[in-house]
Symmetry: C2
Subunit: 191 residues, 2 copies
């Protein structure tokens, strides 16, 4: 997605340890116009499938799940919660992931009543790197007996193993910007 790649090149900063800082528009401050275009693009990529629901994880996937759901005719979204909240049902699906940004394990949780057997679920998230978060969402969708339509991520670090890991489970991955290489000197995208 050209707009997105240009924005990453213009505004992204790369730090030690494969950290790409684009939180000025992706996941702290959000460029709402771009967020809308990202929703349109995910819809275009998956518009030939039946999608009943968008599944994402708090917090940074939510904005993109919303704009994608709007394009699919305002279908519902469900976001996995991290950790245990007081007001959650006991009756829930859980899966563990290692959080890159938090530097430790985190449990993803979805109340059972919000994911049903046979529902066609599209997984959306902001970043794909090692695939920890998306894999946990896949595990939850499978526990529910939902059909996973595919997985859309906004930015992919294609030099990491996330894509292989997800494709190995038979799930299609579409990323809107695929970073092949990044150093403090520059960012190179896949063709």
């Amino acid at each position: 997605m050209k707009d997105l790649e240009e924005k990453i090149l213009a505004e992204g900063r790369v730090f030690e340890g494969n950290v790409l800082k684009i939180d000025n528009f992706l996941n702290h401050q959000i460029d709402v116009e771009l967020c809308g275009k990202i929703g349109e693009e995910f819809h275009r990529l998956f518009s030939d499938r039946q999608v009943d629901k968008i599944l994402t994880v708090e917090a940074s996937g939510i904005a993109y799940a919303v704009t994608t759901a709007q394009q699919f005719g305002n279908i519902p979204i469900v976001y996995a919660k991290k950790g245990n909240a007081k007001n959650m049902d006991k009756d829930r699906y859980t899966a563990d992931a290692i959080s890159f940004t938090r530097g430790g394990p985190v449990t993803f949780t979805v109340a059972k009543e919000y994911l049903r057997p046979g529902e066609h679920v599209l997984i959306i998230d902001d970043f794909l790197a090692t695939g920890e978060a998306v894999s946990a969402l896949i595990e939850i969708a499978r526990q529910a007996g939902a059909e996973i339509v595919g997985c859309g991520t906004v930015v992919e670090k294609s030099f990491q193993t996330g894509r292989q890991r997800i494709e190995a489970q038979g799930i299609e991955v579409c990323s809107l910007a695929r970073i092949k290489e990044m150093t403090p000197q520059g960012i190179v995208f896949e063709d």
Copy 2:
């Protein structure tokens, strides 16, 4: 907001300890159509003011911040993060709040570069009860020297002290559904 009140009456469940469970459409699963209407309503309520940016907090405020920002012509949103993430700048505003759902203190954080002196900021969140979260957002906006245009919350428990606490700071509060009374037997709204 009539649609919202009807939805709460039809689908909300009240539990011991003033817990209103409406996470089937508000903040775990999201009814994206209603979420869009909520954005329209916040826009209607604040359309006579200058609003440069929406400020909210992860995770449950984000969806409503996005749909509100869309109505204001795709202005940016910023969401405060909870706790300390590895990829955040050292240069940040912070404020503490007590989390009702998590049952303990939580630190809200916004990178200084995303809130500027003189920016006209509209605060949006899903719930207003004791006003802890909104007060922390106000504190952060004031640290930044931003102008707080007002505060929009989707659901207010008006029998709690949040509104008084925020109005006492000279900030206007608009809530789309104001619950005067709730018991497992029923929910009553303010007129």
